[in-house]
Structure formats: structure tokens, C-alpha cells
Amino acid sequence: MDKVQLLIGVAVALFAIGLTGVVIRRNVLVMLMCMELMLNGVNLSLVTFAHVTGTAVGAVLVFLVFVVATAEIAIAIPIVLLLVRSKRTLDLDAYADLKG
């Protein structure tokens, strides 16, 4: 195992842990943070491949992911704020209004 294989494995693990966190954690803010973790896992794999191939593509994509993640958080947080204000709880199970 060399460093690239290790880093790829770590990226896979980070993504999996992020996705699992979305499934198993109840607090909505923790869920948001787990989604950030998933994005970081993807970034790691992109950087690793950029290092392997030596071209700039991977780095460009990482940069774009930064931008998109920031924009996403900028909107997701206020939405969560409004939700919490109307439901009065951070528990995700209370947000099942779209049932059926």
C-alpha cells in the first residue's frame, strides 16, 4: 500500500461515514455537517487524482466544489433556521410534513 491507495481508501471511508451520518443522526444541524463531510471526502479523492495524473483538472474541480459547497451552506442554514422556527425542534423526525 502506498500513499495514493491509502488516500483513496480514506476518501471512500470519509464519504461512507458522511452518508451514514445523514442516515443515523437525528439532529438536523449534525446532518448538515455530515453532508459537508461527504463533500470533503470527494475533495480528497479529487486532489489525490490530481496528484497522480499531474494535470490541473482535479484542482479546478476541487475549487468549484469549494464554491458550490459555500453557496449551498449559505442557503441551507437559513432554510434550517426557518424550519426550526416553525417546528420548534431540531429533531428531523418532526419534519415529516410531505408524508404520503
Binding site: 452518508l19 442516515v23 415529516a96 404520503g100
Partner: protein
């Protein structure tokens, strides 16, 4: 190729269109002129065509247009005029015109005057198409058309549901017969490749044909039983008396019901080579004649007596056709047109005088009050009874003779039944005459006060028809038709019986007259006494052998049951509606089931994403 035939057919059609479209706006006088004038014009054309026919000796034809063309086989609309056609066309237009004139008097007070005459002209158009048609196709169009006109005219006073139902019954019963007719036509076209009747006759007379002549004959005869009210499809004719009396005279006595006889006579080529079919025709004919005569013995409505009499006389015509004497059948058709029309129109005159009363038990003593009607009615009664030298004697005697002696199926039993029927015919007709015109008046005072002779439009026609009933028989139609419809061979050993049989038929007529006079003089006292002895038989005959009830029970009700249980409840509601509703319910249930995936719970959705990813990854493990 002549140009005379098409006007004969089209002139009544023009009358129908004029009276039908603008009849209500042009006044009764103009309607009458159009309605009577056009058939008279057609009659004149027919006379000219007959003169042309006798001059050249060859049949006249006129091809109007080609309707359809399949490869080398065209379906042409063509008209054909030979001797048989001449007889038929002259009867239809002649007697038809007379009845139109009579109707101007009879229907004068009716509010649907124009509609009546437009239907009557429509009937003439279709009837003329029927008799003038060269191919079975044109004949069938006319056949169906007269059925339509009959329905319209029987149910003329359609506000009365009973009368409307009578019209429906006539049409539907005819339809049943038409099924057989159509099958016969299909068979003929398939084997011979043509529907033109002269070619069909030639093919059958030339030699054996690929199709069984008896089968075709039976099928065509089924159509004839429907139209000509023979057993088992006779049930519509008595009910058809619900229509106006001139309609009964024209359609259900003189012309439409004879279409079946015309069909058999026209296609004699088939029947000459179909002994089984001919035997069936003769048997059904004589059975119907006997059967209808027995019912007529006890009828109390003046028109119903005449209706059953018509069925009986049609039976005689089919008997003659069944034993190969087609010319004689047409002869009886011709004489019957005269005296039966005279009888029906006379009955109409009586009803008119009696202010609408039709029950003969409530009549009596009319002879002195409506003399012209009485004299014409008496002459026509004597004609139908077969008293010489009136018309009916000649035709009926020939039928009895050929029923006995024809080499083509004549038999003593046919003669015996026919003779018995002739006796009954004379008896019930004189019974009718006695109860209506003689004896003490049995009507109420109000009606008696209004009795008056009919106007000249009605009595004039009666006189003409009575004269024709008297002298019509002197023109021998069988002799006239012999070049195309040869009389059958008489069995040589029976030749010498011709004169004795003639005397016998005269005796039968007189016997019937005597019996009727004996029973029904003194207001039918002896008849009443005799009736008590045979009460059950009387009830059976009065109930018309309960045939209508039989049909209703064995055919009508089972069909209704099947329609209700099988087709409505099972087929329509359960299967069709059930399938549609079932599909909708299935869709709803499936959607309901599938919508349970949407729990609204984000954790669950995320788990589904995870699971989906795992599945995709596992799949690509083997395939990438």
C-alpha cells in the same frame, strides 16, 4: 333498352318528396292531386310499356346505373319488364291509384293528411322497384322498402301505443324472414356469380347447378313467409289492421303481401328443380290456408275477418306455386287484389258509416241504409266464395284442380284440405255479410242516427272494384303467362276428373252460402245455440290458437331473460363495467400501495440513497 320503365318507378317517389316536404303547406286539394295524379301517370306509363311488350314480344330492360363493380362482375341497378312484370305493375299502379282516390274521401278529416299520402306514395315507389327489379338486389331494396312503408303506415296513428306496437311487430317479424332471404341470396351469388333473376332462372333451367336448389328454395321461401304472412311468421298481419283501412286494402291485401308469391313465381327456375322446396311451399300454403280460415270463423272484428281471409287466400296462392302452377298463383293474386281490395274498402265504408265501430256484433240491418256499399260488398263476397262467373271462381277452381292433379306434386290430400278451406271461406264470408248487413240493427241509437252512405270518392272506387271482381276472371292470366310460366303437366289418369271437380268447387261455394244463411239468419240465433256445444273449440279459435302467447312465452321471454341476466347483468355490468372499474380500482390500489414509500422521513430517504448506491456498486462489480 327502353326509357319507359324508370318513370313508372320514379313518379311515386316524386309524390312522396313533394307531399312529404311541403305537403303541410300546399293545402289538401293540391296534396290529393299530387298523390293521386302521379300513380295514375305511372299506370299510363305501365300500359304503354305493356303495349310495347306485346308488340315486340321480347322483355323490355332498362339499366339505370352501375352501383358497384368487382373485377368483371358489376352490380347494376336495372329494370326488367316481361309478362309477369306487366301483370304485377298494372295491378300495383291500377289498384293503387284507385285506393289513393278512395283515401282522399276516407282520410279527409285526418290531421296528418299530407303525411299519409307521402307514405302511401313511398310505398308505391318501393313496391314498383320490387316488381320491376331485374336483380335480386333491386328486388331486395324494394322488399325492405315496402316493409318500412308498411311499418310507417300501420303505426300511422303512432300516439296510440298499441298501434305503434303493431307496426313494430310487423317490421320485426318481416326481418326474421329476411334473414332467410339474405342467406338464399348469398348462396345464389356465391355459386352463380350473379343476382340477375333472368340469368338465375336460365342457369337452373339449363341443367344441374353447384348449389342445392332445394336449399336455396327453402331459404327464399322463408323470406316469402315473412312478407306474405304464412306459418310461422303470419302473426303480424292481424295486428296490422291497426292502420287505416285503405292501407290494409293496399298493402295487406292487394300488393305487399303478394310479394312473396311474386318472388316464387319469378324464380320458378329454382323451384321447378327443387321438389323438396316445392313440397314445403305447397304444404305450408295449404296448412296456412286451413288454419287461418278456422280462425276467421269466429272473429268479431270486421277487419280481422278480412285479415285472416287474406292469410288464407295467400296460402292458396302458395299452394298453387308449390305444385308448379305459377301462372295460376299469379291469376289468384290478380283476382284476389280486386275482390279483397273491394272488401276492405267496403269495410272501410261500413266503419265510416258506423262512426268508427268495427265490431260486427254491433252492426246489422245496414243493407238498406248504405246500399252501394252493400251491393259491392256482396259482389266481392260472392267472388271470394268462388261463385261463377265472378273472378274468384276461375282462379280458385284452377288452384283446386292443380292441387289435385298436378304432375309436379299434386295430391288428393292437398285437394281435400284446400276444398275444406274453400268451404270455410264461403261460410265465414257470408257470415260476415249476414251479420253486417242483414238482420235487426244491433247498434246504439246515437250511431244508428248517423249512418250515411260514403262520398263518391269512396263509393265510386267500390263500384269500379266490384265490376273488376265480376269480369276480371274472364281474362285468363295463366294463358297470358304461359310463354314464360308453363302450366304443369297433369297426371294423365286424372284428366277425366276435371269437370267433376269444377262442379264440386261450385257446390262448395253454394254450400257455404247456404250454411251461413241457415246459421246466421234471425240474428245468428242458431249460431249462438251451436256455439254452446263447442265452447272449448270456440275459445281456441278465438284465441287464434294462442300462437302469439306461444311465441311470447317460448321466444320472447327467454330472449328477454338472456338479455337481462346474461347480457345486462353479466356482460355489461359485471364484465365491461367491472373491467373498467377494476382497472381504475387496481390503479388506485397500486398507487396507494406505492405511495407508502413517501414517509416524509428524510432518514428513510437517505437510507434509500445509500441502499441504491450499494446495489449499483455491487452490480458494477461484476460488469465493469
Amino acid at each position: 333498352m327502353t326509357k319507359l320503365l324508370l318513370p313508372i318507378v320514379l313518379l311515386p317517389l316524386i309524390g312522396f318528396l313533394i307531399n312529404g316536404l311541403v305537403g303541410n303547406f300546399i293545402g289538401k286539394r293540391l296534396v290529393s292531386v299530387v298523390a293521386c295524379g302521379l300513380p295514375i301517370a305511372a299506370f299510363l306509363f305501365a300500359i304503354k310499356a305493356t303495349a310495347d311488350l306485346m308488340a315486340t314480344g321480347a322483355p323490355l330492360t332498362q339499366t339505370v346505373f352501375t352501383w358497384a363493380q368487382f373485377a368483371d362482375r358489376p352490380f347494376e341497378i336495372a329494370l326488367y319488364f316481361d309478362r309477369l312484370t306487366a301483370v304485377m305493375v298494372l295491378i300495383v299502379t291500377g289498384v293503387g291509384s284507385l285506393i289513393h282516390v278512395y283515401s282522399t274521401g276516407y282520410m279527409h278529416e285526418d290531421k296528418s293528411y299530407a303525411r299519409y299520402f307521402s307514405y302511401l306514395n313511398l310505398f308505391l315507389f318501393f313496391m314498383l322497384m320490387l316488381v320491376l327489379g331485374r336483380s335480386l338486389l333491386v328486388l331486395f331494396v324494394g322488399w325492405e322498402g315496402v316493409g318500412l312503408a308498411s311499418y310507417l303506415l300501420i303505426g300511422f296513428w303512432f300516439e296510440d301505443p298499441v298501434k305503434a306496437a303493431a307496426g313494430k311487430k310487423a317490421f320485426i317479424t318481416n326481418r326474421v324472414g329476411d334473414a332467410g332471404f339474405l342467406l338464399g341470396m348469398f348462396l345464389l351469388y356465391r355459386t352463380l356469380g350473379t343476382l340477375q333473376m333472368d340469368q338465375i332462372n336460365a342457369a337452373f333451367l339449363a341443367g344441374p347447378v353447384a348449389v342445392s336448389a332445394s336449399l336455396v328454395g327453402v331459404l327464399l321461401f322463408i323470406g316469402a313467409t315473412g312478407k306474405s304472412a304464412q306459418i310461422p311468421l303470419h302473426v303480424w298481419l292481424p295486428d296490422a289492421m291497426a292502420g287505416p283501412t285503405p292501407v290494409s286494402a293496399l298493402i295487406h291485401a292487394a300488393t305487399m303481401v303478394t310479394a312473396g308469391v311474386y318472388l316464387v313465381a319469378r324464380l320458378h327456375g329454382i323451384f321447378l328443380h327443387a321438389p323438396e322446396a316445392s313440397a314445403l311451399v305447397a304444404t305450408i300454403g295449404v296448412a296456412t290456408a286451413f288454419f287461418a280460415a278456422t280462425i276467421a270463423l269466429v272473429q268479431t272484428d270486421i277487419k280481422k275477418v278480412l285479415a285472416y281471409s287474406t292469410i288464407s287466400q295467400l296460402g292458396f296462392m302458395f299452394l298453387a306455386a308449390g305444385v308448379g302452377a305459377y301462372g295460376v298463383a299469379v291469376f289468384h293474386l290478380y283476382t284476389h287484389a280486386f275482390f279483397k281490395a273491394c272488401l276492405f274498402l267496403g269495410a272501410g265504408s261500413v266503419i265510416h258509416a258506423m262512426s268508427g265501430e268495427q265490431d260486427i256484433r254491433k252492426m246489422g240491418g245496414l243493407a238498406k241504409k248504405i246500399p252501394i256499399t252493400f251491393v259491392t260488398f256482396a259482389i266481392a263476397t260472392a267472388a271470394i266464395a268462388g261463385l261463377p262467373p265472378l273472378a274468384g271462381f276461375f282462379s280458385k277452381d284452377e288452384i283446386l284442380w292443380f292441387a289435385f292433379a298436378s304432375g309436379h306434386g299434386g295430391a288428393p290430400w292437398l285437394f281435400a284440405v284446400a276444398a275444406a278451406t274453400a268451404l270455410m271461406t264461403a261460410f265465414y264470408m257470408f257470415r260476415l255479410l249476414w251479420l253486417t248487413f242483414f238482420g235487426t240493427p244491433r247498434m246504439d241509437h246515437e250511431t244508428a242516427h248517423h249512418i250515411h252512405e260514403s262520398p263518391w270518392s269512396m263509393t265510386g272506387v267500390l263500384i269500379v272494384l266490384a265490376v273488376l271482381s265480376t269480369v276480371g276472371g274472364l281474362f285468363s292470366i295463366p294463358h297470358f303467362l304461359e310463354p314464360m310460366l308453363p302450366l304443369p303437366e297433369v297426371r294423365p289418369e286424372l284428366h277425366h276428373l276435371e269437370t267433376p271437380l269444377l262442379v264440386l268447387s261450385v257446390a262448395i261455394g253454394l254450400a257455404g252460402l247456404a250454411l251461413a244463411a241457415w246459421f246466421y239468419s234471425r240474428d245468428g240465433a242458431r249460431a249462438e245455440a251451436a256455439r254452446t256445444h263447442v265452447e272449448p273449440l270456440h275459445r281456441l279459435l278465438s284465441g287464434k290458437y294462442y300462437i302469439d302467447e306461444l311465441y311470447e312465452g317460448f321466444i320472447g321471454r327467454p330472449i328477454q331473460w338472456v338479455s337481462d341476466r346474461v347480457f345486462l347483468r353479466l356482460g355489461d355490468r359485471l364484465v365491461i363495467d367491472g373491467t373498467l372499474d377494476g382497472m381504475a380500482a387496481f390503479a388506485r390500489r397500486t398507487a396507494g400501495g406505492l405511495s407508502r414509500v413517501q414517509t416524509g422521513n428524510l432518514h428513510f430517504y437517505a437510507l434509500l440513497v445509500l441502499a441504491g448506491l450499494v446495489v449499483v456498486l455491487l452490480w458494477s462489480w461484476g460488469h465493469v
